[in-house]
């Protein structure tokens, strides 16, 4: 199981800016049991890339495959293998956590008995049993985050796509999120996440792609990136790459 992203581009247009690319010719690979992080400033194109890979947007050019399944030609099959979680993802306020999990499980075509067992195990693993039958509107932010995580992995996807997963979370909730990522990696899942914080990237990611202005500037392990740029820490590596790219673009 692996994710192969090959030259993905996504073009946008708005009246003020005209035509522009959210991401341009992005290519990378995520192997099983690996956490690959897209690190970039706000507006760099991280979310656009993740949205294309998760089949929310169709790519303007390029494509990606999950375990050999082309996301453009066969998005329905690809969707069975991926889970997507974003800091902006919402939940149905008038439904209970259990109802949401049941709904999404059934949308993923899970048999009822398997689904019931999966829901129980997720409720225990993420520790929200006492709130499982409470409507989401009455849940705290932390519990909502847990329900969101459970929702995104209800069908036990092989690829997890996390868009700035710890944004807006308090220390404990962010810690729980990191624990969840580590656990998924330990289970042999592919994990693709985006972040703009160096510490999170250093803590979680096995390999990193530095992204700015929609382009992937460099990709590799942190050590490889340090070697490539001659810098001693990730922050310097990042600033060096982004500034160089900006200067090159200005020229």
């Amino acid at each position: 199981m692996s994710l192969l992203v090959n030259g993905v581009s996504k073009r946008f247009y708005d009246k003020a800016r005209g035509e522009f690319y959210g991401c341009r010719e992005i290519s990378f690979e995520v192997k099983p049991g690996e956490v690959y992080g897209l690190l970039g400033p706000n507006g760099a194109g991280k979310t656009t890339t993740l949205r294309v890979v998760s089949t929310i947007y169709s790519p303007t050019a390029g494509g990606a495959s999950i375990n050999g399944v082309d996301i453009v030609r066969d998005p329905q099959t690809a969707r069975k293998m991926l889970g997507f979680l974003s800091s902006t993802s919402g939940l149905y306020e008038r439904l209970t956590a259990r109802e949401i999990l049941t709904y999404f499980g059934r949308l993923c075509d899970m048999p009822q008995d398997v689904l019931n067992k999966r829901i129980e195990s997720l409720i225990d693993a993420l520790e929200f049993r006492s709130y499982a039958d409470t409507r989401v509107a009455k849940l705290s932010q932390g519990t909502r985050q847990k329900v969101s995580i459970a929702r995104s992995i209800i069908h036990d996807p092989l690829l997890m796509i996390l868009d700035e997963p710890s944004t807006g979370l308090d220390v404990l909730a962010a810690y729980a999120m990191h624990e969840f990522v580590r656990q998924e990696r330990a289970d042999g899942k592919c994990i693709l996440l985006s972040t703009h914080t160096m510490s999170e990237a250093e803590k979680l990611c096995d390999r990193l792609g530095i992204i700015s202005e929609g382009r992937l500037l460099a990709s590799g392990t942190i050590e490889e990136l340090k070697e490539l740029t001659g810098k001693s820490n990730l922050e310097e590596v990042f600033v060096h790459l982004v500034r160089n790219a900006a200067q090159a673009a200005a020229l």
């Binding site: 996504k10 073009r11 946008f12 247009y13 708005d14 005209g18 035509e19 949205r51 998760s54 089949t55 929310i56 947007y57 169709s58 329905q76 099959t77 969707r79 069975k80 991926l82 997507f84 974003s86 902006t88 993802s89 919402g90 939940l91 149905y92 306020e93 008038r94 439904l95 109802e99 709904y103 999404f104 059934r106 949308l107 993923c108 075509d109 929702r151 995104s152």
Partner: protein, 678 residues
């Protein structure tokens, strides 16, 4: 999931959406309550209030003041039961009967202040005249004209006015009897009139006139209200809450998701309708008994079969409304924006009210071909026990076909990144890919609405110049503004302002085709007149409004022939053609542009001739790759109509038609030859 997987997925989405919506008590309860209570409110409580006030007024003594030369009047009325003669506030008690005179203003003020319910004013010399009449003195000196003053603003006063009239009439009769007795005239008793009310048999399927007029409009209104909120919540709301992304990356296709949402919105809308029908049906058993005595048709009678028919006919309407609302909700970026759209649409939903209240619109062939309105009129007719099974079946079929068409058009809503996630492409790229569905929809809506509202006003106000203004403001301006200012597309390419492939000869050939199109239009109109009611009266009325008979020929040719030849061609064979070109195959394109051109003329009688002309013009545009031959044919076609109307007052002889047809065929051949592939 067992059985049909797609159906199971749709039902799964429907189930969840319904559960979600039904838990939104704040939005749902007022709607359902409104539906349930509207019937009782309109059929029981409103009449009950009127009846109650009348009953109260009937039980109480009528407070009447007598002014003017009211001495004789006082004698006549003092013994009448239920009357209490009172002085005005500025009079001394017991002064009634004295001769006094007050201004009408003073008296009305008294009524406004509710100090007295009714005032009877007798003219000067009234008492003497009545005395003389009673004594048998012929010819009264003063015509005994009494004035009854009451205020219509106060129901009690209104009722008192009516009652006073009845009391005075009865006094007059008594007075006449006495006079006849004094004169010793013997009058034979009038024969007793035998009256029998004959009403056609209705098999118990006749709702009261009150319900027949208001029910269908109310049903459409509540169906509309019932569809708006769920549509916004399930589409715009889903996007705003951030639940759309997780939903669209599930393995369920976006069309299935849309179908599930559509069924849910339809169910909620239909639930409102059913609640409303139940309200009306039940309330008829609790109506106040005194309703029968009221002079207006307030009694509500809704036979069960009528209610069932209305419920069945409302189902496709609810589905049409639901799919339209979902498609519109898809166009709004935020819930607030969607609410803005729908508030203005509420007024559109109120339009059928006028149709229902007018009461004299019944199902006919043209109406049964109009979706939505046809169904409304069908419901009205069923409530009035007017059955025309063939037309009703046609109306239902048209309504169902229209619903299917709407569903097919709206089905890809959730697949569209521009609508769901605001991902736009540059207009030039969209033009290349033919992705202009939204703009086309807005353009057509704007043009059709402007035609309906603005054009009619312009024609009524400015007569023939109104036609020119219509061409410029309604037809040309929206098209030009969309291309030049909004989409910033190349005007020349979009409007097809290119050299035609057959050069000037193709323009000449197209223009010479006009006699053929004109004869064809006459033939179609003649054939139609065998099946559809004639619209000659309407044509005559339009001619009178426009004053066409009095205008010089050059002006008629300029306004009726040349300006539509340019403006309508720029819109239909220019912009609409270009926006649809990449999306449709040639045959489909010819049919679609022709049909839109037919619809644009907003007349059932004119639809077929204009649609067929539109199809030919689209073919010409395709073949010549230019709009100029289309303009030539359109202007020549209209020009022929103007010339014939000006010079030929009777029907054309058959051989003229044959010659015209042959000339047109030559013209068409010339066009085809000039545009042949070399």
């Amino acid at each position: 999931m067992s059985g049909n997987p797609i159906l199971s997925q749709i039902l799964l989405v429907t189930g969840k959406e319904l559960m979600d919506m039904l838990r939104d008590y704040k939005a749902l309860v007022p709607g359902v309550l409104l539906g349930l209570l509207l019937g009782p409110l309109l059929t029981c409580f409103a009449p009950q209030m009127v009846v109650g006030q009348v009953q109260k007024a009937a039980q109480e003594n009528l407070h009447v003041a007598l002014v003017g030369d009211g001495g004789q009047l006082y004698k006549m009325l003092r013994s009448s039961p239920g009357l209490k003669i009172v002085p005005l506030s500025f009079e001394a008690a017991g002064s009634s009967g004295a001769i006094n005179d007050y201004s009408e203003e003073q008296l009305l003020k008294e009524l406004e202040q509710e100090k007295v319910q009714v005032i009877v004013q007798a003219p000067t010399g009234f008492s003497a005249s009545i005395d003389g009449f009673a004594a048998g003195v012929p010819g009264p000196a003063v015509k005994p004209e009494l004035k009854i003053l009451y205020t219509g603003r106060n129901p009690e006063s209104s009722y008192a006015g009516i009652r006073m009239l009845s009391v005075l009439n009865s006094s007059k009769e008594k007075f006449m009897d006495a006079r006849i007795k004094v004169a010793g005239i013997k009058v034979e008793e009038a024969p007793v009139l035998d009256m029998k009310v004959v009403s056609p048999p209705t098999d118990g399927l006749f709702a009261s006139p009150f319900l027949a007029r208001v029910l269908s409009s109310i049903l459409v209104f509540v169906a509309f209200i019932g569809a708006i909120y769920p549509a916004i919540d399930l589409l715009t709301g889903e996007r705003e809450r951030g639940t759309l992304e997780p939903l669209v990356i599930t393995p369920v296709s976006r069309r299935c998701l849309f179908a599930g949402k559509l069924i849910s919105v339809t169910c909620i809308s239909y639930m409102f309708v059913i609640a409303n029908l139940i309200g009306f049906y039940v309330s008829q058993f609790f109506q106040p008994p005194l309703l029968d005595i009221l002079p207006f048709p307030l009694a509500a009678k809704l036979p069960l079969l009528c209610a069932v028919w209305a419920a069945l006919l409302m189902l496709p309407l609810c589905l049409s409304l639901a799919v339209s609302m979902l498609a519109l909700a898809g166009m709004a970026r935020t819930v607030q924006q969607a609410q803005g759209y729908f508030t203005s649409l509420m007024f559109v939903a109120m339009l059928p009210m006028g149709l229902g209240l007018s009461g004299d619109v019944h199902l006919n062939l043209p109406l049964s071909l109009v979706p939505f309105l046809g169904s409304l009129v069908t419901i009205n007719d069923i409530l009035e026990a007017r059955y025309n099974p063939a037309l009703m079946a046609l109306s239902v079929v048209v309504s169902l076909l229209f619903t299917v068409l709407l569903v097919l058009v709206a089905a890809p809503t959730m697949e569209r990144e521009d609508l769901m996630f605001g991902v736009e492409e540059a207009p030039a790229r969209r033009y290349e890919a033919g992705k202009f569905g939204r703009e086309l929809f807005l353009l057509c809506s704007a043009v059709f609405l402007l035609m309906f509202y603005l054009s009619q006003s312009l024609v009524v106000m400015h007569h023939i110049w109104g036609l020119l203004l219509t061409q410029i403001l309604v037809v040309f301006a929206p098209a030009f503004m969309l291309v030049y200012f909004w989409l910033k597309l190349p005007v020349r390419t979009v409007f097809g302002l290119e050299k035609p492939s057959g050069g000037v000869v193709s323009c000449l050939g197209a223009a010479l085709t006009a006699p053929l199109t004109f004869v064809a239009a006459l033939a179609i109109a003649h054939l139609q007149s065998q099946f559809l009611p004639s619209s000659k009266a309407l044509e005559k009325m339009m001619e009178q409004i426009l004053g066409l008979g009095h205008e010089p020929l050059w002006l008629l040719l300029l306004i009726v022939a040349l300006s539509p030849g340019i403006c309508e061609e720029l819109l239909f064979r220019g912009l609409i053609f270009s926006l649809l070109r990449k999306r449709l195959r040639q045959g489909q394109l010819i049919l679609a542009v022709g049909a839109l051109f037919g619809l644009f003329h907003m007349s059932v009688m004119r639809f077929l001739p204009t649609a067929i002309l539109g199809m030919l013009l689209t073919f010409i545009r395709l073949r010549s790759r230019s709009i100029y031959p289309c303009m030539c044919l359109h202007a020549a076609h209209n020009g022929m109509a103007v010339l014939l109307a000006s010079y030929v007052k009777s029907d054309l002889p058959a051989h003229y038609l044959v010659i015209a047809g042959l000339t047109g065929l030559c013209g068409l051949s010339l066009f085809l030859w000039s545009t042949r592939k070399t």
